[in-house]
């Protein structure tokens, strides 16, 4: 039985734990055994404190025995992207800048998971400071796509997606600034949800681009994703954008067969691989056959999304990453000199190439003489993109597109061409710019590689996205899929 536990959903594991046919210790021991045999192949985790996991599991089992179980996540492991603080665990953002750091405090989501009885299970690899779409920018290790170990898992939450697809954990947390939950979810054949901006507190999330960043749940099924989302959404005064749980977002929506689905004009054309277009078109036809109303919608400024995003995100990143000065935490250079020389040397030694590239770009678009031409125009373009999305969503419930134009590419294939990598996010970026909830749901394969479709909804329409995803996954065989390793 222990061998099969990694194939089960979190919901099913929760039922077995509640029924007393499984203990959290037995479950965690099974996942630790799998970690020992599989993680080196996939590279999803950068750290796992086995003794701490088992101590948490024993505490969970004791609570349950005492009749003090804390709900459906009690005793279930949840793995966490390495930019989300968990007290006593490494917080490195997969960067040499922070590699020795152990977090002295819990993020809000870590507090929520502890309050729900979940096991805070290990640290997941990512692109350095969440900057990237392939997890190749990690300074700590490589992560590979479990479906094809020669390919990238996507990014920046590549470890979060790969861990699920490899059966290393039933649930994980990612963060999403331009698609960093949804793009790797699509490439690894799992479900990833970016919530409405403000639904989940970012307290304890290392900031990349604060007007875009969101933490979100990842799982192998829509049902499990919803389970984790419910535990995370909660008011928190430490993140001034966080408005807390919303009945509108979390209450199960009505009949998904009644949904009106908009297909953005032109999104399935240029740049989308034929197999991806075929899988997504099949999903559209499925919804049509279920009774959903399908219509075409116009998003005329969609082409502005990628340049707008890369101006706004890099501008905010260059500001946010100004805090890494080698003084209070993180890497300090041994180069002697003035404080400015020490800061410059520390930053130059600590940051990797993509982070430096984005800091330089963000510094430029904010610099005197250029800020109006780049940063302010990008903010105006962002307002236009948001207005167009909200207008489109006034006429339909969700917008359906591919999550990513092409399946996972080979490791190293795009490493020397940052612009090509930036275009990976073309379908996912607008939801961040507009603050909208969005989900990637597995819908097929291109050869042996997973393909996902992407749903975007109006603010606080998470329940609709989840209902639409459930309708699809109930009729198809993609939920709970795992790569053979």
């Amino acid at each position: 039985m222990a061998d099969a536990l990694h194939t089960l959903s979190a919901a099913e594991l929760g039922r077995r734990l509640a029924a007393g046919t499984l203990t959290s210790r037995a479950l965690c021991e099974a996942f630790i055994a799998r970690y020992r045999t599989v993680n080196d192949k996939v590279g999803a985790f950068t750290h796992l404190d086995e003794a701490d996991v088992l101590a948490q599991a024993d505490a969970s089992d004791a609570r349950r025995q005492a009749g003090q179980g804390r709900g459906p996540l009690e005793g279930i492991p949840v793995a966490i992207k390495d930019n989300i603080a968990v007290k006593g665990q490494p917080l490195t953002c997969s960067s040499k800048m922070l590699a020795p750091l152990v977090s002295p405090y819990d993020s809000h989501v870590a507090e929520r998971l502890r309050a729900a009885g979940a096991i805070l299970y290990g640290r997941l690899n990512m692109d350095e400071f969440a900057m990237g779409s392939s997890t190749e920018n990690s300074a700590l290790r490589k992560t590979f796509n479990p479906w094809d170990l020669a390919r990238i898992p996507g990014g920046s939450s590549g470890g979060s997606a790969a861990a699920l697809a490899a059966g290393l954990v039933p649930l994980s947390l990612g963060s999403d600034t331009g698609g960093s939950i949804r793009q790797p979810a699509s490439h690894c054949g799992v479900v990833g949800l970016k919530p409405t901006y403000g639904l989940i507190s970012r307290f304890g999330l290392v900031a990349f681009a604060s007007s875009l960043d969101q933490i979100g749940p990842m799982a192998r099924s829509v049902e499990d994703c919803a389970l984790l989302l419910d535990a995370l959404a909660s008011a928190d005064a430490r993140d001034m954008t966080c408005f807390g749980p919303s009945d509108r977002a979390l209450t199960p929506a009505g009949d998904a067969k009644q949904l009106r689905i908009g297909i953005p004009k032109g999104f399935l054309g240029k740049g989308v691989a034929p197999e991806v277009a075929a899988a997504v078109n099949a999903a559209v036809e499925f919804y049509r056959a279920q009774g959903c109303a399908i219509s075409e919608v116009e998003l005329p400024s969609a082409d502005l999304a990628v340049p707008t995003y890369y101006v706004v995100a890099t501008a905010e990143a260059s500001s946010n990453l100004g805090r890494y000065d080698g003084v209070r935490y993180g890497h300090r250079s041994s180069v002697a000199g003035t404080p400015v020389e020490m800061m410059t040397a520390s930053r130059s030694e600590g940051f990797g190439p993509e982070v430096k590239r984005r800091i330089l770009l963000g510094t430029f678009v904010l610099s005197a003489g250029y800020a109006d031409a780049y940063y302010v125009r990008a903010l105006r373009a962002r307002a236009k993109i948001r207005a167009e999305y909200l207008a489109a969503l006034a006429g339909v419930d969700v917008l359906l597109t591919p999550t990513v134009p092409t399946p996972a590419f080979k490791v190293g294939e795009k490493a020397s061409d940052p612009l090509q990598l930036y275009l990976e996010d073309i379908f996912t970026i607008p939801a961040n710019l507009a603050g909208l909830p969005a989900i990637s749901v597995p819908c097929g394969k291109s050869g042996h590689l997973p393909v996902g479709f992407h749903l975007v909804g109006a603010p606080l329409s998470e329940a609709k996205l989840l209902a639409a995803g459930r309708l699809f996954e109930a009729a198809h065989g993609f939920a709970h899929q795992q790569a053979a390793l």
């Binding site: 409405t196 403000g198 400024s301 130059s348 940051f351 430096k356 207005a387 940052p418 612009l419 930036y422």
Partner: protein
């Protein structure tokens, strides 16, 4: 709007020290990326901007002291500390 930029000036503003190879690489890549941004220069855009929030339910917290990490936790993660304080290179010269 994609006129040239001074990579040395940018690196100084960003507090980064770049090798000659890095300067050449980043100059080339930034030029390419800024070229892609030209679409923004040509677009017909609204005059107004708005903030990032889509749900107007967030509120400022009360301006009251809350829990803090404390000196022990803070100095434990600092690169260098002495006597409960973070150490840094000398900022002010003896004669100044």
């Amino acid at each position: 709007m994609a006129e040239g930029f001074d990579i040395d000036h940018l690196a100084k503003l960003a507090r980064l020290s770049l090798t000659a190879e890095e300067k050449a690489l980043y100059s080339s890549q930034l030029s390419q990326i800024l070229g892609h941004f030209q679409a923004l220069a040509q677009a017909d855009l609204p005059a107004t901007i708005d903030d990032a929030r889509v749900v107007d339910e967030a509120a400022l917290r009360s301006d009251a002291p809350g829990p803090v990490l404390g000196a022990e936790a803070v100095t434990r993660i600092a690169p260098a500390a002495r006597d409960g304080q973070i150490s840094v290179p000398r900022v002010v010269d003896d004669e100044s």
